[in-house]
Symmetry: C2
Subunit: 125 residues, 2 copies
């Protein structure tokens, strides 16, 4: 839906979360990469889409695998940087869990964020 509110369309506070688990940290970087792998169909294309080196993308996938305790991405051979990749069920579950936690946390503190926005910012605004 195209809708441009005439006044203060972005005057809300938006949370971004990192979750520290006993075995590591998961945050927007790894989650966005997994989402990009899902849409792009390869780790290299996902990395490119996010302006990330292939090496960095692999490191994040590897970290996500270790965090979850099983593979979150399955790759198929295809030469150097050329193979396809897709998410496993565990990878999809991780994304879904993270996005739900993010949404619920945002919702829980929405009124506090709105109050913080009202109290801060340029006094001339």
């Amino acid at each position: 839906m195209k809708r441009r509110a005439p006044t203060k369309p972005t005057q809300t506070g938006v949370l971004s979360l990192r979750i520290d688990l006993p075995q590591g940290r998961i945050g927007p970087g790894k989650i966005r990469l997994l989402e990009a792998i899902d849409s792009e169909g390869s780790i290299s294309a996902a990395g490119r889409a996010l302006g990330m080196s292939y090496r960095r993308a692999w490191e994040l996938v590897d970290a996500a695998n270790r965090l979850v305790g099983e593979a979150v991405v399955l790759t198929s051979p295809g030469g150097k940087h050329g193979g396809g990749a897709r998410l496993t069920d565990a990878g999809r579950a991780l994304i879904a869990d993270f996005r739900l936690i993010e949404r619920d946390a945002q919702h829980a503190v929405q009124s506090q964020l709105a109050a913080l926005v009202r109290r801060t910012g340029p006094r001339s605004a």
Copy 2:
């Protein structure tokens, strides 16, 4: 209180939040610095306590000032890097707001975090 739980004392997920406001982002880095300024009484000592350069500490204070729209720290003269510093009411309010939002968000998703911890991690654990 010294207490070492025998089993899984840290087996919970802990959130850390960044809040994107229209005028900038506030996260644990700036908040911890302001808390350190409050306890240390100077920007340089606070930076040192956090392993941060004086320049970096000043940049974060400056960013926090702009974010809030007024000074969050008052400094008194004292020579190069030597002046004292204390929080303003606005600075204290920012810390209190952030920590409360963090606590409420954590509480809101506590059971989801616990479920995520149970589903992830080394399979041998």
